[in-house]
């Protein structure tokens, strides 16, 4: 480092000594150090940050970073059957084209004039989600499904002025951790049992657990374990009889073929839009949505930004702005206040592009493809000795649990052997759902060709026999 000469960094134009000099003169200082005189000496860092020598040329930087990244093996290089919250779907080229546009990529919080396009695109995102969900209000995306569910739950507690939440026990365990951290200690979370014969909610347990303290009932459809919950109407009517709200977490990619939760009584619907045009990015592509009907009382409890379409002084011109209701009535549940901030807007714009590209036919065909391919995989897997598909009598979307308990190997061992065959097997559930012991959550989408599924079957047969 010491031998290196000083450099003018391409990211820092005013490092040029003559410019620096001019600016210092203007300020009336001789040394930039003088600008720091308000920081007392004892607060100044006296040491030297121990950082690697910089890679000043872009070429060297590229060599270096690509070198590290090349150590990864991707889901394009192997066949992956991993899902459980992050899903491999095809990303249309236009989605990438749009979210890499400099304007969208580097804009932030401009006004609805110079950033009209940002408001416009996010309004359209919300509008297309609204069509998919058959709901009139959709927020500008939040961080992920976990945050969306947390906020949906908080909204329910504010709307009902109650503090107890019933959560189905097949919710994603990681998501539950997020909700617990966000909502504790003010909310009381109780689990609602699943009938492990069917993978669906145990209605009897729901009836027993729900009370006039219950703010909301949260379940996911399709569930984390892939089951389609077909008792939605019953669940929502039990919920509504107790003046609680029905909150449903859903996979928007299922809604080309499945009945949207609003049709079976959901008051608040939430979920993740990663599948709608975002690459998995090792879990970096998530964004959460929240949708409701357009009732003032409910809309007022959104902490999120909501963009509305408005007129301008020029006739026929569309403008946009923040729906900025005043909070007028205070209730004690104001304990459940929330915050907003930078979240995942770019993924919202991208999901809009995705929905516009697929259109009604595309969404339906996509859903159908996923149903067919996952059913094919289930059918083929169940022919392997010792392998069972759990909840086989219940219908599934995209994901399903494969029970390996009757095979001689643990899931972890099987997956290790599959990796060698360039296959990422299903997600090991033995820690998340100890009651299912050696089981794995498999995910099959439109990206899986028949040959990929057949390769999995062959691989498993080799491993288990």
């Amino acid at each position: 480092m010491n031998t290196k000469k000083s450099f003018i960094h391409p990211y820092i134009p005013n490092s040029v000594p003559e410019i620096k000099e001019k600016m210092m003169q203007e300020i009336g200082i001789n040394d930039i150090e003088e600008l720091y005189t308000d920081i007392p000496d004892f607060l100044r860092f006296k040491g030297s940050m121990d950082l690697p020598d910089p890679l000043l040329s872009e070429y060297d930087l590229k060599r270096h970073v690509n070198g590290i990244l090349s150590k990864n093996t991707t889901c394009q290089e192997s066949i992956s059957f991993l899902g459980g919250g992050c899903w491999q779907h095809y990303v249309p080229a236009i989605c990438d084209e749009i979210n890499q546009r400099s304007e969208f990529l580097t804009a932030y919080a401009g006004e609805p004039y110079e950033d009209h396009g940002r408001f416009h695109a996010l309004f359209e995102y919300a509008s297309m989600m609204g069509e998919l969900l058959e709901m009139d209000v959709v927020n500008v995306p939040t961080y992920d499904w976990g945050q969306a569910a947390s906020t949906a739950i908080q909204m329910a507690t504010r709307i009902t002025d109650r503090t107890e939440i019933l959560v189905s026990d097949t919710i994603s365990p990681d998501r539950l951790l997020i909700i617990q951290n966000y909502c504790s200690p003010l909310l009381k979370m109780k689990t609602m049992k699943t009938d492990y014969e069917t993978g669906k909610i145990d209605l009897g347990d729901l009836e027993d657990s729900i009370s006039n303290k219950t703010a909301g009932v949260y379940f996911e459809n399709p569930s984390y374990l892939g089951c389609i919950e077909d008792q939605g109407s019953k669940i929502s009517s039990i919920t509504h009889e107790n003046d609680a709200l029905c909150i449903v977490g859903t996979d928007p990619l299922s809604l080309g073929v499945l009945t949207p939760p609003s049709n079976y009584g959901a008051d608040i619907v939430c979920g993740d839009i990663q599948g709608l045009g975002m690459h998995m990015q090792y879990g970096g592509g998530h964004a959460g949505f929240i949708a409701t009907h357009d009732e003032e009382k409910i809309v007022m409890e959104y902490p999120s930004r909501l963009f509305g379409i408005i007129p301008t002084v020029v006739k026929g011109e569309y403008g946009f702005g923040d729906v900025t209701y005043d909070r007028t009535s205070f209730s004690k549940r104001e304990k459940g206040k929330e915050f907003i901030g930078t979240a995942a807007a770019l993924w919202g714009i991208t999901a809009g592009v995705y929905l516009a590209l697929l259109g009604p036919q595309g969404m339906q065909e996509l859903g159908k493809l996923i149903l067919q391919k996952s059913q094919y995989a289930m059918k083929r897997l169940s022919t392997i000795d010792g392998i069972n598909i759990l909840f086989n009598q219940t219908s599934h979307f995209k994901e399903f649990v494969v029970d390996f308990n009757k095979t001689p190997k643990k899931v972890s061992e099987i997956n290790e052997l599959l990796v060698k065959k360039k296959i990422f097997g299903g997600k090991d559930l033995s820690k998340e759902f100890p009651n299912l012991r050696e089981s794995a959550l498999f995910c099959v989408t439109e990206v899986h060709k028949k040959e990929d599924i057949d390769k999995l079957i062959l691989g498993l047969e080799e491993i288990l026999n």
């Binding site: 820092i12 005013n14 620096k20 607060l43 030297s48 910089p54 890679l55 990244l69 090349s70 990864n72 889901c75 394009q76 992050c86 491999q88 249309p92 400099s102 990529l105 804009a107 932030y108 919080a109 006004e111 110079e114 009209h116 359209e124 509008s127 297309m128 609204g130 992920d144 976990g146 990681d174 997020i178 200690p185 077909d230 073929v257 499945l258 998995m280 090792y282 879990g283 809309v299 509305g308 408005i310 301008t312 011109e317 569309y318 946009f320 702005g321 304990k335 459940g336 915050f339 930078t342 807007a345 516009a356 259109g359 036919q361 595309g362 969404m363 159908k368 149903l371 067919q372 990422f424």
Partner: protein
């Protein structure tokens, strides 16, 4: 007239495509993309896939999405992108507090590499050693920059990092059996509003400190705020005024003596990299916004990342998993004894972490220090020039230098001309500039906050100043042109009444059709 001689504002006009709403485009039957055909063999075995689904769970009607061909979708969104003024195109110094610096394009190239985009977060760790190395080393870099002992890269934003700090404070007092009694978080009014809002989510009572005449929270005020109920302090330094609080170590000392923890919101770190650190000021925790200081782009409002660091004693409370290196392999450590659990799914906003890593690697120690020095130089140059414009002021700390940003006021101009910050914001657009309007709370009247970062050249800063000077001059000579601005932007003056009228607000197109259809005849 203008404090910058010979510097002209641009004869700018933004792209205006008069673009319809996407539902007004296309026609029935058009397709934007086709999906793979189902293989015959599968269809032969499975059928249409619907037979297993209960009838009432099958969607009756396809969703009313638009039907548009591919090029037309592309064109629509490209036009919308042109109707957005990103930091790559304007001199984005008007969005103070947000550090709108250059986001290097090479880092975007890394972020779209399949080697990162096509990784599933549950893959076996032997297949993700590259990305784990990036995580691990970014943690090490941030330790150097802050002086703290361990980072988590999980929080997806500054606000979520604040929430995580609040969770850790809660866990810490739980651990000490003191949680029921310690229920107050102290912050300052010039810290980020989320420093108050995020802990409130978890039931904390919020005490915020207003500034003294010098614009700083003072020790007397802190004394008034501290009690045996104090759980912790969440504070920015420098605050959004750009004034460095020289008493910060006394703050942390008093909080520690009262039994609380101190969390440092480093949203405004861009002026102090390698200059002043969390450790020397005795903070227990701190976080950096990777999308501000560390160059990851803002993406129209995310995805972003808040990297949170803690002292050794608090590692046991961090969210899981942490990334470790055992000498030969990078791995996940879920064995965090008193973890708060999780704040975001999986490991955080991976592309933002990757970009921050690359940015640090491109600068090194000297480079980071130069970033801060030039950011501070730029800011003080700007300060000098802005104050030469009639009608401006920089409340507090007269005669002092500022760190990386300044909260200014147009109050004098407003008193003289009736032209407000909001008016000026709208007029600046006509010259291709952005000036942010949200500076809650409004204790500085008619506020505007400028942060020039290290990225903008002197010529660009001069151009921005010329824009401010031009609008300030117009406020006197032609106030109507300012009041009715913008004139050369994408849209004209908005009629905003309906945004808070439940009968008229329309958050989706379907809602608009229901509520406005009759009005549109």
């Amino acid at each position: 007239m203008s404090p910058v001689k010979n510097m002209k504002v641009r004869n700018f006009h933004q792209a205006k495509w008069d673009e319809p709403i996407i539902f007004e485009l296309g026609s029935k039957g058009e397709r934007g993309i086709l999906l793979p055909e189902i293989e015959n063999e599968i269809e032969a075995v499975i059928g249409d896939g619907f037979s297993k689904i209960p009838k009432h769970m099958i969607r009756e009607q396809v969703p009313c999405l638009p039907e548009i061909s591919q090029m037309q979708v592309l064109k629509h969104y490209l036009r919308l992108s042109q109707e957005t003024l990103g930091a790559d195109l304007n001199v984005d110094i008007g969005q103070g507090t947000c550090t709108m610096k250059y986001s290097p394009k090479i880092n975007e190239i890394f972020a779209i590499s399949p080697k990162i985009t096509e990784l599933h977060p549950s893959q076996p760790i032997c297949t993700v050693q590259g990305i784990l190395e990036i995580f691990y080393k970014t943690d090490l870099f941030l330790r150097e920059i802050s002086g703290l002992d361990q980072f988590t890269l999980q929080p997806a934003s500054g606000s979520q990092a604040i929430l995580t700090m609040s969770s850790i404070i809660k866990a810490f007092h739980d651990y000490n059996g003191e949680n029921t009694q310690r229920d107050e978080i102290i912050t300052t009014i010039f810290s980020h509003p989320s420093d108050a809002a995020a802990p409130a989510v978890q039931g904390y009572k919020i005490i915020d400190i207003y500034p003294n005449q010098e614009g700083l929270p003072d020790l007397e005020a802190l004394k008034e705020a501290i009690s045996d109920r104090t759980a912790g302090l969440l504070i920015t330094n420098p605050e959004d005024t750009g004034i460095y609080n020289p008493y910060i170590k006394e703050f942390t000392k008093m909080i520690h003596e009262a039994g609380g923890l101190c969390g440092y919101d480093q949203a405004n770190a861009n002026g102090v990299l390698g200059i002043a650190r969390a450790k020397e000021a005795d903070f227990d925790m701190c976080f950096f916004n990777l999308h501000k200081t560390f160059s990851s782009p803002h993406g129209c409002g995310g995805p972003s990342a808040g990297a949170l660091g803690v002292k050794k004693e608090l590692i046991k409370f961090l969210p899981v998993p942490l990334v470790r290196y055992n000498g030969s392999e990078y791995l996940f450590d879920y064995n965090v004894s008193h973890t708060i659990g999780k704040v975001r799914s999986y490991y955080g906003v991976v592309p933002a972490v990757l970009k921050a890593y690359s940015w640090i690697m491109s600068l090194g120690r000297e480079g980071l220090e130069e970033v801060s020095r030039i950011a501070v130089l730029n800011n003080n140059y700007l300060l000098k020039k802005v104050l030469e414009i009639n009608g401006t002021s920089a409340p507090y700390a007269k005669g002092h230098h500022r760190i990386e940003q300044v909260r200014y006021s147009w109050n004098k101009l407003t008193e003289e001309t009736g032209i407000t910050t909001e008016d000026i914001t709208n007029r600046m657009v006509d010259f291709g500039f952005h000036m942010w309007s949200s500076h809650h709370p409004f204790i500085v009247p008619q506020p505007f906050t400028l942060e020039p970062t290290e990225s903008y050249s002197k010529a660009e800063i001069d151009e921005y100043i010329a824009g401010l000077a031009k609008v300030a001059e117009e406020a006197h000579s032609n106030p109507e042109i300012v009041k009715n601005a913008p004139h050369r932007s994408v849209v004209h003056k908005l009629i905003t009444d309906s945004l808070d009228d439940p009968d008229k607000w329309a958050i989706t197109w379907r809602s608009y059709l229901k509520k406005w259809k009759n009005d549109r005849i």
